[in-house]
Amino acid sequence: MYKAKVIVKRKKSILDPQGKAAEHGAILLGFKNITNVRIDKQVEFLVNVSDEETAKQEVSEFCTKLLSNPSMEDFEIMLDKVDEA
């Protein structure tokens, strides 16, 4: 079994208004060194297969078909082998 962690990121070319708002908040709080804030999404789930290649394939398909929208987002997949629950 694999534990999957997916990070869905808005493409760099797209303005991230939430990130901008958080950046503005940082300025209001007096932080002077915080810049380029981007707010992404993290999704975690288990994949009930025994080999990594199948897990990767299935997660990638899930990301393309539902978790991300390819016209505005990219995704990163991290897989960790875990013991059966």
């Binding site: 808005r10 070319s13 797209i14 303005l15 208004p17 939430q18 708002a21 539902l66 978790l67 929208n69 016209s71 505005m72």
Partner: protein, 231 residues
């Protein structure tokens, strides 16, 4: 011409009744509701995907709605040339389904914008815009994620193929940043697909189609569709 319209009802749709009312009672068209779990389009001539917050708009707006059983039929119907018109959440569902290019992202100012605005038809050849009485229309918008985005290549292709239907404008039809309520690229408020049978727009013509509400510009869009539909 009398047409049969199907208004799809997703869990969370909230403009389905407005659309039904306009088509059935203002325009005297045969109109039925189509439940999201069904797959039968009941021989409708045109399908409306109404506004709302389908499936709570979880993950992304329209992302789950595109997976409902009725959408498989709607996608088939659209690919065979059937007329599909998505309004607000319906537009978001159409971009998620891949029936229309681009995506609707969070409004630039992060606010949910609910107000009457003007849009100007910039394409005079489409089913929805061919027979408008005037090009600039007063229509309400009500969305948090109506900021239309495409990459440059898609944008150029939209323009080249005359797929942009409406842009946000002043009451006089002037198109500029000042009149852009959500940050949409080049003020785009509505588009169609290359074949000219799938339409999406963020403003709500169905909410400005009944004189009781004090504004009827939206009716022109539905009238244009009726007038130019070829059965």
């Amino acid at each position: 011409m009398k047409l049969k319209f199907g208004v799809v009802v997703f869990p969370g749709s909230n403009c389905d009744h407005d659309s039904y009312h306009v088509l059935k009672h203002e325009l005297n068209q045969e109109t039925v509701y189509l439940w999201h779990k069904d797959t039968d389009l009941q021989n409708c001539d045109a399908i409306i995907l109404p506004g709302g917050f389908s499936y709570g708009d979880y993950i992304r707006t329209g992302a789950v709605a595109k997976l409902s059983p009725i959408m498989n039929s709607v996608i088939d119907f659209a690919n065979k040339g059937g007329i599909v018109f998505g309004i607000c959440n319906g537009f978001q569902i159409l971009t998620e389904s891949g029936l229309l290019p681009g995506a609707l992202i969070k409004n630039k100012n992060l606010k949910f914008v609910c107000k009457d605005i003007y849009i100007t038809a910039v394409n005079e050849d489409s089913l929805l815009t061919k027979s408008l009485d005037h090009k600039t229309l007063l229509t309400p918008i009500a969305h948090g994620e109506g900021n239309y985005f495409t990459d440059e290549e898609t944008l150029n292709s939209l323009k080249k193929n005359n797929q942009v239907l409406f842009r946000y404008s002043s009451s006089k039809g002037e198109i500029s940043d000042t009149y852009n309520p959500n940050g949409s690229i080049e003020n785009i408020a509505g588009i169609m697909n290359k074949n000219g049978n799938v339409f999406g727009m963020m403003p709500h013509p169905e909410r400005s189609s009944d004189g009781l509400l004090g504004k009827t510009d939206g009716l022109q869009i539905f009238n244009s569709l009726l007038k130019n539909f070829i059965k």
